[in-house]
């Protein structure tokens, strides 16, 4: 059995086992959830460390494959390459951290942990799958848990609306994707039809798609995946959804689930329809300016910390889109780095704001202030996270955004300049203002306490450490990403020399 099966199988099996535990065994329920996600994280760490030494087949390692439904060409096929390796590690770490910070949940714990593990295990399965059917299947497992998590354990007046909005938006996006994927599948002659991504890539490389169908399949995938990643102007579900969700669910949703659409674009849409990608690149780069600049301004106006973080998270995925729109190896590599970095960062941000909400019972920044004295640990971590969010070197986000901007320069200087401005100035303004409003000042807060012991500090430390490690040693990610993306970049931009890659900026990292 591939360790990848273990990584996503453990949380899913634990969710099923939890259903059998009586609901008053609260400790056992939490311990089982923690244990499953911990082992899943350790296995993910193990494959991340040993990845280079594992046997590779067609660019994928830790492959496991057998036929599932022969009649439809569905196979159970998991494998890791540079593109999903970092995402799987990030997802597993975030899942563990999300279970860790959920200790404050004290109503219907059993259902809460079942749904959280289903959501986390599902999305890890989607990242590990190399078969389009399971890729879609596992992602959709999160739909119902997200609805219930927001509706039952959510916060705020608008949680009902938010639960519906996120469900309807995400299923609309997912169904457009499903149409696109089915249409791609049907492009193959009947006996060869398969959902296997590796075989599809091979087939479309040998028989590029020129039937006219690609003109509508690509936009279906682009906007379908785009809705799932909150591409402007389909982003409105994201800030409110995250703000209303309970902490653990917001962490997994904003951190991990949101990367599914980006991953799908790079894994499926670009390599299978490289010519269409060229046509749509400009449209995409304009739309993602909407994310970066418009949502950046929206974030600036927020008084609620969670809405600020939600909008800033929408703004950040704009950079990931920009990297895809650059269609260059540097830009795509940057996108994958951002996906990993933003996963850690968004999870960390929502974990911290969840902590603040539980302590202060409010997230209105105009009522906060002076908290750094009483919450030194949480405050320090949050300030570092916010600095990471405005692209400070030393954090993984900086490296990803830089690569994206480099990769995009040759394509359009004007868009790059605007994006750069959005990254440095707008993000700087709202993040620094938030730091001032929350942490500085004279206000006293009786009765609140900092993360008391190592156990409570662990999830925050873990996520922050990941950001710093990948920020200081980005080659841990980029070396493998570059190798896996080179064929994709070759397809979408055949003229560009693949060797250009990261060698020019190698001097950057220590």
């Amino acid at each position: 059995m591939s360790p990848l099966t273990l990584i996503f199988g453990l949380p899913l099996v634990a969710a099923l086992l939890l259903a059998l535990v009586p609901r008053n065994y609260r400790f056992a329920i939490r311990a089982l959830a923690l244990l499953a996600s911990l082992i899943s994280m350790l296995v993910a760490l193990y494959i991340f460390i040993t990845f280079y030494h594992a046997a590779a087949a067609e660019g994928f390692r830790y492959v496991e494959r057998y036929a599932w439904a022969k009649g439809l060409g569905i196979s159970y096929h998991v494998g890791a390459d540079g593109l999903n390796l970092g995402l799987i590690l990030m997802g597993a770490v975030v899942l563990f951290a999300a279970v860790c910070v959920s200790w404050r949940i004290n109503t219907r714990e059993k259902e809460y942990y079942i749904l959280l593990l289903l959501m986390g295990g599902g999305i890890l399965g989607a990242f590990a799958s190399l078969d389009l059917f399971f890729f879609y299947f596992f992602h959709e497992l999160a739909l119902v848990p997200a609805f219930l998590l927001i509706g039952i354990w959510g916060h705020g007046e608008d949680k009902n609306y938010a639960a519906y909005q996120i469900t309807l938006y995400l299923s609309a996006g997912a169904l457009l994707v499903l149409l696109g994927l089915l249409a791609l599948y049907l492009q193959l002659p009947p006996p060869e039809r398969t959902f296997d991504i590796v075989e599809l890539t091979r087939y479309f490389k040998a028989h590029p798609l020129h039937s006219g169908a690609e003109h509508w399949i690509f936009p279906l995938l682009l906007f379908g995946f785009g809705i799932l990643v909150s591409l402007w102007p389909f982003h409105t579900w994201a800030p409110l959804g995250y703000a209303s969700a309970p902490t653990g669910a917001a962490m997994i949703h904003a951190g991990v689930l949101k990367k599914f659409g980006l991953y799908g674009l790079i894994r499926v849409a670009l390599p299978l329809m490289p010519d269409e990608a060229q046509h749509w690149a400009y449209v995409l780069s304009v739309l993602c300016l909407g994310n970066i600049v418009y949502c950046g301004f929206v974030a600036m106006r927020q008084r609620d910390l969670n809405l600020l973080l939600g909008n800033s998270s929408v703004a950040h995925v704009g950079f990931a889109f920009l990297g895809i729109a650059s269609l260059s190896l540097i830009g795509l590599t940057g996108t994958v780095v951002i996906m990993v970095a933003h996963g850690f960062l968004a999870a960390l941000n929502f974990a911290l704001s969840g902590y603040l909400r539980d302590e202060l019972k409010t997230l209105d920044m105009s009522q906060m202030g002076g908290l750094l004295r009483q919450l030194p640990f949480i405050g320090t971590v949050m300030i570092m996270a916010m600095l990471a969010g405005c692209g400070l070197p030393g954090f993984a986000n900086f490296f990803g955004e830089m690569l994206v901007l480099f990769g995009n320069w040759n394509r359009s200087g004007a868009i790059t300049t605007l994006a750069l401005w959005g990254a440095l100035v707008i993000a700087g303004v709202y993040m620094l203002r938030a730091i001032r409003a929350i942490w500085h000042g004279q206000k006293d807060w009786p009765g609140i306490s900092d993360a008391a012991n190592l156990w409570r500090k662990l999830p925050f430390a873990l996520l922050l450490a990941a950001l710093i490690v990948f920020g200081c040693f980005p080659r841990l990610l980029t070396d493998e990403i570059k190798t896996s993306l080179a064929p994709v970049a070759q397809l979408v931009e055949p003229e560009a020399p693949a060797t250009l890659a990261l060698s020019d900026i190698k001097g950057y990292h220590p």
């Binding site: 599932w68 009649g71 439809l72 879609y136 509706g151 039952i152 169904l175 499903l178 149409l179």
Partner: protein, 481 residues
């Protein structure tokens, strides 16, 4: 006549007659146990349908070409038998709401079942009419079985009148077909297809026949009755209408279009596609404001008829196979939903009765949630794979005709709309913090068994498509495209 050909139908009718006799000697307080006898008998007949003498050496035509036993017929007969199994078990739980005639209830359910099974094997328009009338007359009685409740009587009258009208349309269509073609046998009509396809009398006749069948599947323009009758009928009857009657309509639609008039179906692609699109949108949009669970499922059943029409409109073998697959999943899904409604909605079936169901009975809450998720077409349940197969069939046709892409987009829009009300049911279960009623709901062992079967079926069809899809693909070999 070859009695061994009709063995399954004869067994069902025999079971019904036996029950009628046993009923005479059964004391009143034990009469509900006849339901268990009926369920056990149905299980035996279902098992027999897999046995070699029945399932081997197909297809067989008999009774002067009126009756055909082929893969398609058997696939549907198994769905009907399974549906009837759940219905009689549900009726046992429902007994305290009938004033009289508990024993007869099972008998009439079995007679309706026999009608459906004959419809699955119909190979002649006369047979279609006889089978459908056998089904409809049984349902006239069943729908108004709660004689003391005005709702039930009202539903019965509505069903009687509208079903009568649709039967009149159907028989008029059959008469025109007979007039144009000089015969009513499907095989003969199919062979004469190209000549008949230009005969306006035949076209009108076939159209009227389809309209009559549209009543059974509850699709536009004959969908009007479904919400009212679903709401008023006793819950087990609603379940049987939603699963059995609809499936019987679909097997006849498939046979009429692809056996009796294959030359015609190509020209009617646009008609079918519009019918599917409008039915999907009508059912889903009208379901949004509903407060009554059974009425909501009535509109949902219209929407689902629309989804299944997608497979018919695709005019290809994968499309028809997808209809069969979808119906199999739909049977388990709806059976689970109606079992829960039967047990929970005793006084009223307002959606508010679900409040706190997860504390009153976790099993019922889980079953209802899974049923709604499956209806909404979310993995890993049966509804997802069914919709995936239907969409695949439609997109396959889009390669030849771009309009099918729009049809697929309408279907997708319908699914998104439907999430709103299906998830509204889930919300009604879990959201409310204060619940009016905390009393636990007892769930008897037969009901637990039924729910377990339904849940297993939903998961099985949602995760392991191969066996049933292979069976469905083989079943539709009887059809010509």
């Amino acid at each position: 006549m070859n009695p061994s050909l009709l063995i399954l139908e004869l067994a069902v009718v025999g079971l019904a007659l036996a029950l009628l006799l046993i009923d005479l000697w059964t004391p009143r307080q034990f009469k509900h146990r006849l339901g268990y006898v009926a369920a056990a008998g149905l299980l035996v007949i279902l098992a027999a349908s897999f046995a070699a003498p029945v399932a081997g050496g197909l297809p067989v035509v008999g009774c002067d070409g009126m009756f055909v036993q082929d893969g398609l017929a058997l696939f549907f007969k198994r769905i009907f038998l399974a549906a009837a199994f759940f219905v009689v078990l549900m009726a046992v739980e429902f007994r305290d709401r009938f004033t009289a005639g508990i024993g007869e209830f099972y008998v009439i359910v079995l007679l309706a079942l026999a009608g459906m099974m004959l419809a699955a094997s119909a190979n002649d328009f006369v047979m279609v009419y006889v089978a459908l009338e056998m089904m409809a007359v049984s349902f006239y009685v069943l729908v108004s079985f709660q004689r003391s409740r005005p709702d039930s009587l009202e539903a019965g009258v509505k069903y009687l009148i509208l079903s009568g009208v649709s039967a009149a349309v159907l028989i008029f269509g059959i008469a025109l077909v007979f007039g144009a073609a000089g015969g009513t046998n499907f095989a003969a009509l199919g062979a004469a297809g190209p000549r008949l396809a230009r005969n306006p009398l035949f076209l009108l006749g076939a159209l009227l026949v389809l309209l009559g069948l549209a009543f059974k599947i509850a699709s536009i323009p004959m969908q009007m009755w479904a919400p009212d009758v679903y709401q008023g009928a006793p819950t087990p009857v609603t379940a049987f209408l939603a699963i059995g009657s609809k499936a019987a309509g679909f097997v006849l639609v498939l046979r009429v279009l692809f056996v009796a008039a294959p030359a015609l179906s190509v020209h009617w692609a646009a008609l079918l596609a519009w019918g599917a699109a409008l039915t999907i949108l009508y059912g889903n949009l009208c379901a949004i404001p509903q407060r009554s669970l059974k009425r909501l499922l009535g509109y949902s059943s219209i929407a689902n008829a629309g989804y299944m029409l997608l497979g018919v409109a695709a005019l290809n073998a994968p499309g028809s196979a997808a209809v069969l697959y979808y119906l199999a999943g739909y049977a388990f899904t709806l059976a689970a939903a109606f079992v829960v409604i039967c047990l929970v909605a005793r006084e009223s079936d307002d959606i508010a009765v679900l409040a706190g169901l997860n504390r009153r009975s976790p099993l019922l809450a889980l079953s209802l949630t899974l049923a709604m998720v499956s209806l909404a077409g979310v993995p890993p349940l049966a509804g997802f794979l069914g919709k995936l197969l239907l969409l695949k069939a439609v997109l396959q046709q889009a390669a030849f005709n771009g309009a099918y892409l729009w049809l697929a987009l309408v279907a997708v829009a319908g699914v998104v709309i439907s999430l709103y009300y299906y998830f509204g049911v889930i919300r009604a279960v879990y959201w409310p913090r204060e619940t009016p009623d905390h009393s636990p709901i007892p769930v008897s062992w037969p009901m637990r068994f039924s729910l377990g079967l339904c849940i297993a079926g939903m998961f099985y069809l949602g995760i392991f498509p191969d066996p049933v899809l292979t069976a469905a693909t083989q079943a539709v070999r009887a059809l010509k495209f």
